[in-house]
């Protein structure tokens, strides 16, 4: 744990980053920007896992392993998402959520 820094401060910062990610997710129209916001949300959650692990249960390491697996899953998710975005761009020549209405109706 960090000397002089309490759990409350870390959790506050991760909550702020989480909701900045939510704000970006709601306002952005570009698929890649939405992906960036999702990465912010995932990272805020990972910080929470590590903070609880280090500050409350330093003997166990569940938070550490959850964060490791979360990073691996995020890598898989981004690989698939970017493949889909590139394919979609070749199909409709745009990565805007408003213009990708192929399957809407």
């Amino acid at each position: 744990m960090i000397p002089g820094v309490s759990l409350y401060e870390i959790l506050t910062i991760s909550a702020v980053v989480f909701f900045i990610g939510v704000y970006g997710f709601l306002t952005r129209k570009n698929l890649i920007s939405i992906l960036l916001s999702v990465e912010l949300i995932l990272n805020a959650v990972a910080v929470n896992f590590v903070a609880f692990n280090v500050y409350l249960y330093p003997g166990d390491s569940q938070g550490l392993f959850f964060t490791l697996f979360m990073i691996a899953i995020a890598a898989a998710e981004v690989a698939i998402a970017i493949a889909i975005i590139v394919d979609l761009y070749r199909l409709v020549k745009s990565v805007d959520v408003d213009e990708t209405t192929e399957m809407k109706y």
Binding site: I2, P3, G4, V5, Y8, E9, I10, T12, I13, A15, V16, V17, F18, F19, I20, G21, V22, Y23, G24, L26, T27, R28, K29, N30, I32, S33, L36, L40, N43, V47, V50, A51, Y55, L56, Y57, P58, G59, S61, L64, F65, L68, F69, I71, A72, I73, A74, A75, A76, A79, I80, I82, A83, I84, I85, V86, D87, Y89, R90, L91, V95
Partner: protein, 166 residues
């Protein structure tokens, strides 16, 4: 000393995450996300999880951001400005985000956490042993599942991205 470094890291993380969701140029947004990820890796180093910090730097900052930048270069002109969201949408989302921050910070600050249970932080040695351990508290099943998932994601990404152009 640690406190000052923590606050500098916190300022970097919050400032650049805000810039990364508001920047009008998408390549800059990706670079701001890169700085946020480096700040979070610094946090992992500060709490004593050096292995996790290294993984964050290599996989997230080194791999995922590069992948995102490739996607940006493949899909659009980088000097294109992103469309500004509608004012009503901005206000509604900002209200929602501020409400969420308010509620969660209020409940965090009013919650008394359990007493810390003493123990030693896991070292890299412990991580390696636990990841491949079959005993209680071992993580060999999720480890193997993640391996299959990454393989499946890799094959899926290749198949989707290599489809012939119609």
């Amino acid at each position: 000393m640690e406190r000052i470094i923590f606050y500098i890291l916190a300022a970097v993380i919050v400032t650049f995450s805000f810039l990364s969701v508001t920047s009008a140029k998408i390549l800059r947004a990706a670079v701001y996300l890169f700085l946020v990820l480096i700040g979070i890796a610094g946090f992992y180093f500060m709490v004593g999880y050096h292995f996790l910090g290294a993984v964050q730097l290599t996989v997230y900052a080194g791999g995922i951001v590069v992948l995102i930048i490739f996607a940006i270069l493949l899909t659009e002109q980088i000097d294109n400005r992103l469309a500004r969201p509608k004012a009503g949408m901005v206000i509604a989302s900002a209200m929602l985000a501020l409400l969420g921050i308010g509620v969660s910070v209020y409940s965090i600050l009013n919650h008394v956490f359990d007493k810390k249970i003493a123990g030693q932080l896991a070292t890299v040695d412990d991580i390696g042993t636990k990841l491949l351990s079959f005993d209680a508290g071992g993580y060999v099943l999720p480890f193997e599942l993640i391996s299959i998932l990454l393989l499946a994601a890799m094959i899926g990404a290749i198949v989707i991205a290599k489809r012939p152009i119609r």
